[in-house]
C-alpha cells in the first residue's frame, strides 16, 4: 500500500518545482477514512461528554446528611437500681463496684459488640489537675468490656487542645492501650455530616467512630464551668462534634438537650474521683481540685447530672435549665431522689 503514493505532477513537465520540494504524497482512501473516523469520534465524544456534563450542572448542594438518632440504651430492669453512687475507693475499685451495683457489665455489653468509650480528653492536663476523665477509670471500663466479649473497644474523644498532647498527658492513651483498647485520635478527615434533628442543632459533622458503635459509654468528669456553673455528662457530648462548636455556647441549654437526645448512651459513668471546683473546665491549679473518691453511674443521664450538680455545687435543677428541658424530652428525670439509687462505700 505504501508504494501506491502518486505524484501530483510529472517532474519532466514541471522542471522548476520538482527539485524545490519533495513530492507531497496524497492520502489513500483508506487513510482518509481512518482520519475521518478519528475526527468524528473525537467530535462525538466531546459532544456527548459536554452534553452529559451540562445536564449534570447544578448549584453545589450540601452533602446528604445521614439521619439517625443514636439510641444505645438497654431495656430497663426493675431488678437493678437506675443509679449508683460509690464512694471511698480508688478509681478502678469504684468503677468495678458501680458496674456490679447496676447488674454487671454483662447487662450492658453483649458478645461481639463494638463498644465506644467516650471519656473527656479535652485538655492538655494531667490526671491530678482533674480536667480530663481519670485514666484508671477508663482502663477499668475497657477491661470489663473485653470480659463481656466485646468485639472492639474504642476509646476516643474530640479534644479542644492539641489532641496528641491531650491523649498523652491525660494518661488515657497509655492506660486504655495497656488494656488493649483502640485509641482513636480525632483525625480531621474522619467526620460525617449528620442531621442531629435538634431544635438548634441541625446538621453537624460527627466524629465517625461515634456513629459506628453498638454500645456507647459516656465517661465524663464533673467540673466547674463558667457559663453553666457545672459541666456534667451531657456537656461531654460536645466531644463527638467537629465543626465550629464554639457557637454552641450561644444557646447552651438547648444545644445540650439537642445533643443528649441525639446520642443516648448505654450507660453514663461519672468520674468524681477528683472534681474541679473552680476555673473549669480547664483548671490546672491543684488548689481548684477536690478529692472526692466517688463514681456515680446511671442509665438516666438527667438524674445523674441533677444529682452531681446538687451534691458538689449545690445547684438545683432551676439553675441548670437544660435538665428540665431534657426531662421534658423524655431523656430522664430530674427527681433523682425518687429513683431507686444505690449508695455504697468502699472505705
Amino acid at each position: 500500500m505504501a508504494g501506491e503514493t502518486t505524484h501530483t505532477s510529472d517532474p519532466k513537465l514541471d522542471p522548476i518545482q520538482a527539485p524545490a520540494h519533495d513530492p507531497v504524497p496524497a492520502l489513500t482512501r483508506r487513510e482518509a477514512m481512518l482520519q475521518m473516523l478519528r475526527v468524528g469520534g473525537i467530535a462525538a465524544v466531546a459532544t456527548g461528554g459536554g452534553y452529559w456534563l451540562s445536564e449534570h450542572s447544578s448549584r453545589p448542594a450540601a452533602v446528604h446528611a445521614e439521619q439517625a438518632r443514636r439510641d444505645h440504651r438497654i431495656a430497663a430492669n426493675p431488678q437493678w437500681p437506675k443509679m449508683t453512687v460509690v464512694q471511698g475507693g480508688e478509681p478502678r475499685a469504684l468503677a468495678q463496684r458501680a458496674l456490679a451495683d447496676l447488674g454487671g457489665i454483662g447487662r450492658f455489653v453483649s458478645r461481639q459488640d463494638v463498644v465506644v468509650i467516650k471519656p473527656n480528653i479535652a485538655w492538655d492536663r494531667t490526671p491530678e489537675q482533674a480536667a480530663n476523665t481519670n485514666p484508671d477509670l477508663v482502663a477499668e471500663v475497657v477491661r470489663q468490656c473485653w470480659q463481656a466479649g466485646a468485639k472492639r473497644v474504642i476509646v476516643t474523644d474530640v479534644s479542644c487542645n492539641e489532641p496528641r498532647r491531650c491523649f498523652q498527658r491525660s494518661g488515657i492513651q497509655a492506660a486504655a492501650r495497656a488494656e488493649g483498647a483502640e485509641v482513636i485520635l480525632p483525625d480531621p478527615e474522619l467526620y460525617r455530616e449528620v442531621e442531629l434533628g435538634g431544635v438548634v442543632l441541625k446538621t453537624w459533622p460527627v466524629f465517625t467512630p461515634f456513629l459506628e458503635a453498638d454500645k456507647i459509654f459516656n465517661l465524663p468528669i464533673a467540673k466547674h464551668h463558667g457559663l453553666t456553673g457545672a459541666t456534667l455528662s451531657m456537656k461531654n457530648w460536645y466531644g463527638i462534634l467537629g465543626g465550629e462548636r464554639n457557637r454552641l455556647h450561644q444557646q447552651i441549654h438547648q444545644s445540650l438537650v439537642d445533643l443528649a437526645s441525639f446520642m443516648l448512651p448505654t450507660l453514663t459513668i461519672m468520674d468524681c474521683y477528683r472534681i474541679l471546683l473552680r476555673n473549669g473546665p480547664t483548671g490546672g491549679n491543684l488548689e481548684d481540685v477536690a478529692l472526692k473518691k466517688t463514681v456515680v453511674a446511671s442509665t438516666d443521664p438527667v438524674a445523674l447530672d441533677a444529682y452531681v450538680a446538687k451534691a458538689y455545687w449545690n445547684l438545683d435543677p432551676e439553675h441548670l435549665p437544660y435538665l428540665q428541658m431534657a426531662a421534658n424530652r423524655g431523656l430522664g428525670t430530674v427527681d433523682f431522689d425518687k429513683l431507686p439509687v444505690k449508695f455504697s462505700n468502699l472505705a
Partner: protein
C-alpha cells in the same frame, strides 16, 4: 581502580545525608512519647544540620559574642575543610545534593558543548564571597540576615513551610477518594496507606503557612537554575560554600593533573559540579572545587587524581578583587544601619508581632534568628508563621504567632527546643510558667502579649447573646478572663442577663487561646497584641503586677 569508585562512594554519602536531613525534618514535629502523662519534648536531634553549619556558628558568635549550645559541633565540618577542601559541599550538603540531582536531568539548555562551556570557571562565581562578607559584617552589627541565604535555613524553610505541606495536601488529595470508596478493597488499601504515612511522614493535620507559595516557588527556581548551569546556587550565591571555599585554600588534599596524558576530551569538564576547571592545561580553582570527584571518575586516561601534599600551580584562594571585597564590606556595613533606619525594630513595632515563648528581646532576637523555620515546622498548633512586614523588612521570615490559626499550647515548649541559635531560648514548661498561679507574687511566667476585647463585636457585649467561649478556653488559673453579669435588652425588648467577659492583664499570658476559640472567626472579638510581652522591658502596660 580505586579512583573510579570515588563518585559512587560520594553518591552513597549524598543519599545518606539527604535521607538523614529529610528524616530529621519529618521528625521535627510533636511525637508523643515518654511516660504516660509526662511533658512532651523533642527527642530526635533535629537541629543536627545547623550544628554542623560553621556559617551559623561564626555569625552567631559575631552577633552574640558567644556560641549557643551545640554550635561548637560545627568545627566537625570546619576543621576537616581546612585539610580536605569543600568535601562538605560535594558529599554531605543536601542542598548541593538536590541541585546535583537536578543538574543531571536532561535539559535542552545544557547539552554537550554548552554543558562543557557552562562548567568552565566564571568570574561571577565570586559573587558568593561578596554575600559572605556582607553577611558576616552584618552579623557583627547585630543582624543575622545571612539566614536568608544560609543553605540549611533555606532548606528547612522551603521544605518545612512549602514543600512538605504541599506534599501533605497532595497525598491526602489522592488518598481521600480511595478511603471513601465503596469497594472494600480500595477502601482498606487507602486507609492502611494513610495510617502508614500518618505514622511516618504526614503531619497530624494539614499544615498551612503564610507565604508558603512564595517560599516554595523561590526554592524550585533555585533548583531549576541547575538545569541551565549546574549548581548555580553553590557556585555563585551560597555563603556557606563561600566560607568553606575560603577556608579550603590551606587544604592539603588537591587535584593532581597529569597534563601529559590529557587528550582534552573534556569529559572532566562535562561532569564538573563546581566549575573549577579540572581539565589539563587550565589552572584548577581550589576554592570552587566541591570534591565531587566526577572528574577523576570520568577521565578515560586516568590523568586526574586527588592527592595529598601536591605541588602544582593552581588558584588557591578565591580570586576576589579588592573592589569586590570592598563591595562586600560596604554592603555589610551599610545594610544594618539602613535596615534600622526603617520602621520596625524600635519604632512602630507591629502590634501583632507575637514572638514564640522563650524569645529574646527584639534586638537580641534579630541578632540570632536565622529564619530557618524550625519553630514553625515543629509547632503542633500551626501557630507560628514567617513574617512579611510585621518585624520590619529586616525581620522578614522570622516567626510570629497567628492565634487565629493556632494558639500557643500551655505546656508546650517545642519551638524553644528546636531553635538552633537561641533566638528562642530553651525553656522548660515550668519556666514557661503558664497554668498555675499566674499573677501570683512569685510567678513570672513567659508572656507573649495581652488580650483585648472588641466590645463592638463580642456577643455578650454587642449582640445580646450568651458566649464566653474565650473564658472556657483561657488556660491560666485563676483565669485571666473574668465575667460580670449584666442586664441587656434584646431587639424584642426582653431583658436578658448575660455574662460579659473582661481581661485581667496581670494574669493574661497572651497565649491566644481566647482569640482562637472566639466564634467570630475572621475578626475575633478578643485578640492578643504584643504589649505586655515579658521579653521586652519597655513594652508593658502595668506599672506593677499584682
Amino acid at each position: 581502580m580505586v579512583r573510579s569508585k570515588l563518585p559512587l562512594l560520594r553518591r552513597i554519602s549524598q543519599i545518606f545525608f539527604l535521607a538523614l536531613f529529610l528524616g530529621l525534618l519529618v521528625f521535627t514535629s510533636l511525637r508523643p512519647s515518654g511516660g504516660a502523662t509526662s511533658d512532651i519534648h523533642m527527642r530526635a536531634p533535629v537541629r543536627l544540620f545547623f550544628e554542623w553549619d560553621p556559617l551559623v556558628a561564626i555569625a552567631n558568635a559575631f552577633a552574640s559574642h558567644a556560641l549557643y549550645r551545640g554550635l561548637l559541633w560545627s568545627l566537625l565540618i570546619l576543621l576537616p575543610t581546612l585539610f580536605l577542601g569543600r568535601f562538605f559541599c560535594g558529599w554531605i550538603c543536601p542542598m548541593g545534593t538536590l541541585q546535583h540531582f537536578v543538574g543531571n536531568m536532561p535539559s535542552e539548555a545544557k547539552r554537550g558543548k554548552q554543558r562543557i562551556e557552562s562548567n568552565r570557571y566564571r568570574r561571577w562565581q565570586t559573587a558568593k564571597y561578596v554575600v559572605l562578607i556582607a553577611g558576616l559584617i552584618a552579623a557583627c552589627f547585630g543582624s543575622m540576615a545571612i539566614g536568608w541565604l544560609d543553605p540549611f535555613s533555606l532548606l528547612v524553610r522551603s521544605f518545612g513551610l512549602a514543600i512538605l505541606p504541599a506534599f501533605n495536601f497532595a497525598v491526602r488529595a489522592v488518598l481521600l477518594p480511595l478511603e471513601h470508596s465503596h469497594i472494600a478493597f480500595i477502601k482498606t488499601t487507602g486507609q492502611t496507606l494513610h495510617q502508614a504515612l500518618q505514622a511516618t511522614v504526614l503531619d497530624f493535620r494539614m499544615p498551612h503557612f503564610a507565604q508558603g507559595l512564595v517560599l516554595g516557588v523561590l526554592f524550585l527556581l533555585i533548583l531549576a537554575a541547575s538545569l541551565r548551569i549546574t549548581r548555580l546556587w553553590c557556585r555563585s550565591i551560597c555563603p556557606l560554600g563561600a566560607l568553606l571555599g575560603a577556608v579550603s585554600r590551606w587544604s592539603i588534599l588537591g587535584l593532581h593533573k597529569d597534563p601529559a596524558t590529557c587528550n582534552h576530551c573534556n569529559r572532566c569538564e562535562l561532569h564538573c559540579q563546581g566549575g573549577d576547571d579540572p581539565i589539563g592545561g587550565a589552572k584548577w580553582h581550589k576554592s570552587e572545587c566541591l570534591m565531587c570527584m566526577n572528574c577523576v571518575g570520568s577521565c578515560p586516561e586516568h590523568s586526574l587524581s586527588f592527592r595529598f601534599f601536591r605541588n602544582e600551580s593552581e588558584v588557591a584562594s578565591p580570586d576576589l578583587s579588592r573592589r569586590k571585597t570592598l563591595t562586600g564590606i560596604a554592603a555589610g556595613v551599610a545594610a544594618v544601619p539602613l535596615m534600622r533606619a526603617n520602621t520596625g525594630l524600635g519604632k512602630s513595632r507591629h502590634e501583632r508581632l507575637l514572638r514564640p515563648p522563650g524569645s529574646l528581646d527584639e534586638n537580641e532576637f534579630l541578632s540570632r534568628c536565622i529564619r530557618c523555620g524550625e519553630c514553625m515546622k515543629v509547632c503542633p498548633n500551626n501557630s507560628l508563621h514567617p513574617t512579611l512586614d510585621q518585624a520590619g523588612l529586616e525581620g522578614l521570615w522570622t516567626p510570629t504567632m497567628v492565634p487565629r490559626i493556632g494558639y500557643c499550647e500551655p505546656s508546650c515548649v517545642l519551638c524553644s527546643e528546636v531553635c538552633p541559635t537561641g533566638a528562642i531560648w530553651q525553656i522548660t514548661p515550668k519556666e514557661k510558667g503558664w497554668v498555675v498561679g499566674v499573677g501570683g507574687a512569685q510567678s513570672q511566667p513567659v508572656r507573649l502579649g495581652t488580650a483585648f476585647y472588641d466590645r463592638g463585636r463580642c456577643l455578650p457585649w454587642a449582640l445580646a447573646t450568651d458566649c464566653i467561649v474565650c473564658e472556657e478556653w483561657c488556660p491560666v488559673s485563676p483565669k485571666a478572663i473574668y465575667v460580670q453579669e449584666a442586664e441587656v435588652i434584646d431587639s424584642a425588648g426582653n431583658t436578658k442577663t448575660l455574662k460579659q467577659p473582661r481581661i485581667d492583664p496581670s494574669r493574661c499570658v497572651g497565649c491566644g487561646a481566647c482569640e482562637y476559640a472566639c466564634p467570630l472567626q475572621e475578626h475575633p472579638a478578643v485578640y492578643v497584641t504584643s504589649i505586655g510581652e515579658s521579653r521586652s522591658p519597655s513594652s508593658q502596660i502595668l506599672l506593677s503586677r499584682k
